[in-house]
């Protein structure tokens, strides 16, 4: 049941969104943690326990796949399904942001 959360048209969690964004290029797990913190301007931190669970889930859902593996270090990248799902999500967020910005003027 929890699996459906990602691929259904609803919104993905912040953690999932940023992991997918960072995997537009193949990256090792630990680099994903650093990159997410960097591109989110420090607003999103991903702990190793959370990342491990997210990787398993995203791999099971077919959104990411193993790109390379040297000893115990694995790198992941987006699958074509992952790219599609992420693109849909970005469009959705863009519309949300656009609408939000229109209203924001009236709030401040």
């Amino acid at each position: 049941m929890a699996k459906e959360k990602i691929s259904k048209p609803g919104l993905m969690t912040e953690t999932t969104y940023y992991i997918l964004l960072s995997l537009v290029e193949p990256l090792h797990g630990y680099v994903v943690m650093q990159k997410v913190e960097e591109i989110s301007y420090g607003t999103v931190t991903i702990g190793p326990g959370t990342l491990y669970g997210a990787f398993s889930k995203l791999e099971n859902d077919g959104l990411i796949e193993v790109f390379s593996q040297e000893s115990r270090r694995k790198s992941y990248c987006l699958t074509s399904k992952g790219k599609q799902v992420l693109a849909d999500q970005i469009k959705k967020f863009s519309i949300m942001t656009e609408n939000g910005n229109k209203v924001l003027k009236h709030l401040t």
């Binding site: 969690t13 943690m33 190793p48 326990g49 491990y52």
Partner: protein, 177 residues
């Protein structure tokens, strides 16, 4: 000469993982750092060291050796030391820096997943006790049967309470989402 190690007797319920984390952290502030946990989980061995504040965090995971390596690699890269594994409970520690960054789980979803793994494992034990309980009673002398019944009832209560408490924790986390 100063004592290098000490054993401490301490009793926690299986669902008191957060309490265990806090206790281990307090011990580290006094210069006692976790080294090992006894078979029954009632005795903790600490080694003496500097009074450094460590943040302890527990995960619950049983994986194949290969997956475990990948798992530990992520923690290692994020600066977490894997102290020990005790019956599926993975004990990690890190020098205290920043409360926000010293978290192995950074969203509710992954905390829920952790407790679901605990729940799954503990639930597996419940039917096992029932099977033994119903199948073999007549074969034993009364005193032994009584002893068995007592042990089974207590164990089932213990496991049952654990399952219930963990299920409540999951519900609480789901509500917060």
């Amino acid at each position: 000469m100063e004592k290098q190690e000490k054993n401490t007797f301490k009793c926690f319920w299986p669902w008191e993982d957060l309490k265990r984390e806090a206790w281990l952290r307090a011990m580290s502030q006094q210069g006692w750092h976790l080294k090992s946990i006894g078979f029954l989980g009632l005795t903790y061995t600490f080694s003496a060291g500097e009074k450094v504040e460590y943040v302890y965090q527990l995960d619950f995971l049983t994986e194949s050796a290969q997956k475990m390596e990948e798992y530990l690699e992520l923690f290692d890269a994020a600066g977490w030391e894997h102290v020990l594994s005790w019956n599926g409970w993975q004990h990690f520690r890190k020098r205290f820096e920043d409360e926000d960054k010293d978290q192995i789980f950074t969203d509710n979803q992954s905390k829920i997943q952790k407790y679901k793994r605990v729940l799954m494992t503990y639930s597996l034990f419940l039917p096992t006790y029932m099977i033994v309980f119903f199948a073999k009673m007549e074969r034993y002398p009364p005193w032994f049967a009584t002893l068995l019944v007592t042990v089974f009832v207590l164990t089932t209560l213990y496991v049952g309470a654990s399952v219930l408490m963990v299920a409540l924790r999951i519900r609480q986390l789901e509500k917060e989402e």
